[in-house]
């Protein structure tokens, strides 16, 4: 059954994907800009593929070059389908906004307080404007 989560769209749009609930991540130095895979060996999500997924994390960390890496991911088609954060992050927001401006790449960014607890890893998530719907529970055996 679909469950709706309260959200604020800081970069509106529509998207669907599997939720990747992940510890705060620096896109620069943390994600391969060509493949969208987490390459930071210090990160618990090392090896996770972000392409086409709804990335859910509390906030961004690390490098201010993450805007460029995110724009590059979206340009090359290896970027997330959407990003859900618990608090606004200028570095993530601007990367998405520039990719939209230059390439028309859509990657909605939403703020959902408590998102990393409210959305389960592996759940199917649909985003439309300021609505975030968890449309499918994650498989029982985990992801």
């Amino acid at each position: 059954m679909a469950e709706q989560v309260e959200a604020r769209a800081v970069f509106p749009g529509a998207a669907e994907g599997r939720a990747v609930v992940i510890e705060p991540l620096s896109f620069w130095g943390g994600v391969d800009p060509g493949t969208g895979v987490v390459v930071d060996p210090h990160h618990p999500g090392f090896g996770t593929a972000l392409a086409g997924c709804v990335v859910v994390m509390a906030h961004g960390v690390g490098s201010s070059s993450s805007s460029s890496v995110l724009a590059e991911l979206l340009r090359s088609g290896s970027g997330p389908a959407a990003i859900v954060l618990e608090e606004p992050d200028a570095i993530i927001f601007i990367g998405v906004a520039v990719a939209a401006e230059l390439y028309g790449a859509a990657c909605p960014v939403l703020i959902v307080p408590g998102a990393t607890r409210a959305i389960r890893h592996g759940a199917g998530v649909a985003i439309d404007g300021a609505r975030v719907r968890v449309v499918k529970e994650p498989p029982r055996d985990g992801v």
Binding site: D40, P41, I91, V98, Y103
Partner: protein, 421 residues
């Protein structure tokens, strides 16, 4: 959007295109950000530091070239961060020619927009650093945290693209760390349990930064129990905390400027439980930053991240003390190009010791280090944090003294005594 944002006449002129196409593009992104973060107004900044000149791929280049082609010129004095190339020592670059060409085009585009070709990640070491209370727009995570914490200037954590938009317009949203109410401490980090010999050592500071960034990834920490700290030690702390975490501002009681203000600590109580740092936490940090085996062959030593200051260059020269880097090991020190002329003597001594000086870029952001079959030793938490993913090396973290001793010995040397055996 929600209509909270008030724009002044100048903002509206820029937005409407009266000040040219480039100003309109830049203003549009500043306004988008202001709306996203719920700012009610924009404020002036006096200077900017651009992070976007480091090449990450076509998107960054196409954005810069689009602005440059639209006639963009910065409206406030603007410095440039490292690029992907050492323009003074082009032979150091080992990457492919196509990437080098694009990286150079990106650097050229920012210079064409009127930015100063400073090519350093430590713009606070240039002449005329920002003053206490000055509102600025800086990119580069270590520069952001240094400006806020050590200088008491005010910048949010700006990234690529918005940095140049702020530089062109001279405007940023009034939010976050620009505002006094967001600069109080959220969490107390107590280091008084760390024995003084370790607490005074240089190696303590980058590891403390790494611990803080891991445990309080967002927020404003107040470090208590530090008796003394040099600007370079605070720089290492900030660079570590802004790599493992998203720290944009920290205070050190009695040392950083805002912690001495009469009103400091009168705001809300810290919202997070205090952290008592132990020697074990620092050892764990050292081990987490060490992805290679300490018994492995030493390939290279990487120093000067963030870019070495004058004092750090002199100290390194003194540590080598006329000894030479061992055959078979490459030792690099990164610094700003301005230091190469102002610190001629130390630079000359280091070069005579067989150290390769890197300017304009850094050894963990671009392919410079040739020998990646052995481990690379560094004294920088930031270098150790990013290098494994960026350039595919295995790292051993050590103190500056350990790094120099290892470079001379040709093998990994670490002084374990400082950790209590």
């Amino acid at each position: 959007m929600d209509g909270l944002l008030h724009l002044d006449a100048g903002d509206r002129e820029r937005l409407s295109g009266e000040k040219g196409e480039a100003a309109a593009i830049a203003m549009r992104f500043v306004v988008l950000l202001a709306e996203a973060v719920g700012a009610e107004r924009l404020i002036d900044v006096t200077r900017a530091h651009i992070d976007g000149c480091l090449y990450q791929g076509r998107a960054g280049l196409e954005f810069a070239e689009r602005l440059a082609a639209a006639g963009a010129q910065v409206g406030v004095p603007t410095t440039l961060n490292v690029g992907s190339l050492d323009l003074l020592h082009p032979g150091l670059y080992r990457g492919d020619a196509e990437t080098a060409r694009d990286a150079r085009s990106l650097m050229d585009a920012y210079v064409a927009m009127g930015c100063r070709p400073t090519w350093t990640c430590a713009p606070y070491q240039l002449e005329d650093p920002p003053a206490f209370g000055e509102q600025i727009a800086w990119g580069e995570s270590n520069a952001i945290v240094y400006a806020n914490s050590v200088l008491g200037a005010r910048t949010e954590r700006y990234g690529d693209f918005i940095d140049i938009c702020a530089a062109i317009t001279g405007r940023v949203p009034a939010y976050g760390l620009h505002l006094t109410e967001n600069r109080g401490a959220d969490v107390v980090v107590d280091v008084s349990r760390i024995p003084p010999p370790l607490r005074d050592r240089d190696v303590f500071f980058p590891l403390l930064g790494y611990v803080i960034g891991r445990r309080v990834p967002s927020g404003v920490p107040l470090v208590v129990g530090v008796d003394r700290a040099t600007p370079d030690q605070l720089k290492a702390l900030g660079a570590g905390a802004a790599s493992s975490g998203g720290i944009g501002l920290f205070h050190v009681a009695g040392i950083t400027p805002e912690s001495s203000l009469p009103d400091f600590g009168r705001g809300p109580e810290p919202s997070l439980p205090p952290i008592a740092v132990t020697v074990q936490m620092l050892r764990d940090a050292r081990d987490q930053l060490t992805t290679g085996r300490t018994g492995a062959a030493l390939g290279a030593v990487a120093l000067g991240t963030p870019h070495a200051s004058a004092a750090e260059l002199r100290r390194l020269a003194a540590l080598f003390d006329e000894r030479r880097v061992a055959d078979g090991v490459d030792c690099y020190v990164s610094s700003g190009r301005d230091m190469l002329t102002s610190e001629l003597r130390a630079v000359d001594e280091l070069e005579r010791a067989g150290v390769r000086i890197v300017a304009d870029t850094c050894t963990y952001v671009t392919p410079i280090i040739g020998r990646v079959d052995g481990v690379v030793m560094t004294d920088s938490a930031k270098w150790a944090y990013y290098a494994p993913a960026n350039i595919g090396v295995r790292v051993v973290f050590g103190s500056t003294e350990d790094c120099v001793a290892s470079a001379v010995a040709g093998e990994v040397v670490r002084d374990e005594e400082v950790w209590g055996g």
